[in-house]
């Protein structure tokens, strides 16, 4: 177990380096000069621009900047924004909001998605099952911005249950509606994956054995069926947590949540290389951690999988 974790951690290093390198160069080769843009419509003073670039280390070669950036990264220094704020402070402000939003969405899709998929899978071919397939198909085909506006209109504008936009980004109750919108697409996928998996497993030998030896239905479904059907779902959920955090751009925009998506969107538009890279580093770490946890969960769910 310990050796497996160590090996996986080692394997993560090239992925981590690769992803951060990819984003670092992608952001920096963008045309447009973020420093000159600070002067707005006025012509920038070349001397001032040069001095500023020197102070920010932007006058060095791309490779040198990259080496400096990576070296700083390992000491926890994420650099600073063009306006002189520490990137780590910007991240520290936005990250807790998005972690809450993403975890809330994650909980919704996990609980509702598995429940819906389980019911549909057990009642295969019945109207509940057909209804679920139709409902998930609709959720998948309505794009997130549209779904966001529909929910905003129904629950905030017409019913008045919540405010149309989030006032306090740290308030879990206010984050509920954005979380439903954010998690809806994945909810549909989780429900469908669970359903397929349940349908496949429900006819298996161990299920017949479990029923034949007279186990109560709750136990047959909970311990035997569900546990064996969860592996594809867990695989999906593992990659989804990172995607939820990075993909919240639209939802955060519609509901005015001051999270990672919001901050990233502005940083990309302003070509704030250090800020974009900083957020991506954090997102990649979340993604890698989630995939490690998924691998470990396989062994919990299926005792045949052993990590020596």
């Amino acid at each position: 177990m310990g050796r497996f974790v160590a090996r996986r951690l080692l394997q993560m290093i090239p992925v981590f380096l690769g992803t951060t390198t990819l984003i670092f160069f992608m952001v920096r080769v963008l045309p447009g000069d973020p420093v000159a843009a600070m002067w707005g419509d006025k012509a920038p003073d070349p001397a001032q621009v040069a001095a500023f670039k020197h102070r920010m280390g932007l006058d060095k070669s791309m490779i040198q900047q990259y080496v400096d950036y990576m070296a700083n990264l390992f000491t926890g220094n994420f650099g600073q924004t063009m306006a002189g704020r520490k990137v780590i402070d910007v991240i520290g402000e936005a990250l807790p909001v998005t972690v809450r939003l993403a975890l809330l969405a994650f909980a919704i899709e996990l609980v509702l998605g598995v429940a819906i998929g389980l019911i549909a899978g057990l009642k295969r071919g019945k109207s509940v099952d057909k209804g679920t397939l139709l409902f998930t198909l609709l959720l998948i085909s309505i794009p997130v911005p549209v779904l966001g506006f529909i929910f905003q209109n129904i629950f905030a504008t017409n019913l008045g249950w919540v405010t149309p936009t989030v006032q306090d980004s740290m308030n879990l109750g206010q984050l509920l509606l954005p979380a439903v919108v954010l998690g809806s697409l994945s909810l549909a996928y989780v429900a469908r994956l669970t359903r397929t998996s349940i349908v496949e497993n429900v006819k298996s030998d161990y299920m017949r054995t479990a029923v034949a030896k007279g186990l109560p239905k709750r136990k047959v479904i909970g311990t035997h069926l569900l546990r064996n059907s969860m592996i594809p779902v867990i695989t999906f959920l593992g990659t989804d947590l990172g995607a939820l955090m990075g993909g919240a751009i639209v939802t955060e925009g519609i509901f005015n949540v001051k999270g990672v998506g919001n901050a990233l969107y502005h940083a990309i538009n302003l070509k704030e290389g250090a800020t974009v890279s900083g957020f991506v580093v954090v997102l990649v770490l979340v993604f890698l951690a989630a995939s490690l946890i998924v691998d470990l969960l396989y062994a919990v769910l299926d005792p045949r999988i052993r990590y020596a």
Binding site: P14, V15, F16, G18, T19, L22, I23, M26, V27, V29, L30, P31, G32, L137, L138, I140, S141, I142, P143, V144, P145, V146, F149, N153, T157, T196, E200, I231, P232, T235, G238, T239, G242, A243, M245, G246, G247, I249, V250, G253, L264, Y265, I268, N269, K271, V276, V280, L283, V284, F287, L288, S291, V294, D295, Y298
Partner: protein, 313 residues
């Protein structure tokens, strides 16, 4: 983690081998033909195929459906003349947008961007991902190690975020820049599927037989392995097509996808969001068309998967 996906896909060719071994009274059918016979009987396939034919027709020849110029704004219709239901197929059928342009004409002309992006991205990722997956799966060893690490790296970059960064590099963005960004970020998904599929097919007896008969690498890869390994890729690609259309609309909605002279449902949804209270119809029609389009392609993908995966029959 990829192993599990591979195992699922592995069932497809294995099952197929068993099927063809059974004596059949009629002429033996290939998997593709078999799937086609199965598909034709499914209502979900017929509905989605008809919708897609209609959409492709709209995209190819929007002039057949409306004679109104989608870019002609008549400010007498500003602000947002309500839909005129009696004006079927006319300029005012779906009302007018904030600049007095016919929403019906814009909805019709908007189909082209979505369909072109969807199809081109799907073809691009299938070719790129299929080739790289084939190489990784067939040769194994260091080729596999390199390709797999590259796919790992791309998997860590969220699609929307990566697309934002790439598209920011284009000062003028057309359909092709969006296609480029989505292909660049999406091909690794197909690589994984193809790689897993090739690895299982590679071990089949007919591949060994072909090798024993002295077939060259190219012949084995493209004549023997490719036709038997492509099914899962086709399934994933068809389902992903709808997703690419939704992503294009999302990017255009964020103002980082297509740009104005191009007509896109995403752009129209974006401009309609400001007037959602006073003129919900301006949002409803482009959003509805977008959802129907995505729905049609996802339904098609579902039907194709059921037809190609005999386990679910």
């Amino acid at each position: 983690m990829p192993d599990l996906i591979e195992k699922k896909n592995a069932a497809i060719p294995a099952q197929r081998g068993a099927d063809s071994a059974e004596p059949k009274p009629e002429k033996a059918r290939s998997l593709g033909l078999d799937a086609w016979h199965d598909l034709r009987k499914r209502p979900i396939f017929i509905v989605s195929a008809l919708l897609i034919v209609l959409l492709v027709l709209i995209a190819a020849a929007p002039g057949l459906f409306t004679s109104v110029d989608p870019r002609a704004g008549d400010l007498r219709n500003h602000y947002l003349t309500k839909p005129d239901w009696s004006d079927v197929f006319g300029a005012g059928w779906f009302g007018y947008d904030g600049q007095g342009r016919s929403i019906f004409a814009r909805v019709i002309y908007g189909a082209r961007a979505s369909v072109v992006v969807g199809i081109c991205v799907t073809v691009g990722v299938t070719v790129l991902g299929g080739l790289s997956g084939m190489l990784a799966g067939y040769f194994g060893g260091w080729v596999d190690a390199v390709v797999s690490r590259i796919t790992d790296i791309f998997f860590g970059v969220p699609l929307l975020l990566g697309a934002l960064v790439i598209l920011n590099a284009f000062s003028v963005r057309t359909v092709w820049s969006v296609v480029f960004a989505l292909v660049a970020l999406g091909w690794t998904q197909m690589t994984r599927v193809m790689r897993g599929s090739v690895i299982t097919v590679k071990q089949a007896d007919y591949v060994t037989a072909a090798k024993a008969l002295g077939a060259g690498t190219g012949r084995i890869m493209f004549k023997h392995i490719l036709p038997n390994a492509i099914a899962p890729v086709i399934v994933v690609a068809t389902i992903a097509l709808g997703g690419y259309i939704a992503t294009e609309a999302t990017l255009s909605f964020l103002g980082i996808g297509l740009q104005d002279p191009t007509i896109s449902w995403g752009i129209d949804i974006n401009s309609a969001q400001k007037v959602i209270r006073t003129a919900p119809f301006a949002l409803f029609f482009p959003a509805g068309m977008l959802s129907i389009t995505v729905l049609a392609f996802i339904m098609l993908g579902d039907a194709v998967r059921d037809a190609l995966d005999p386990k679910l029959r």
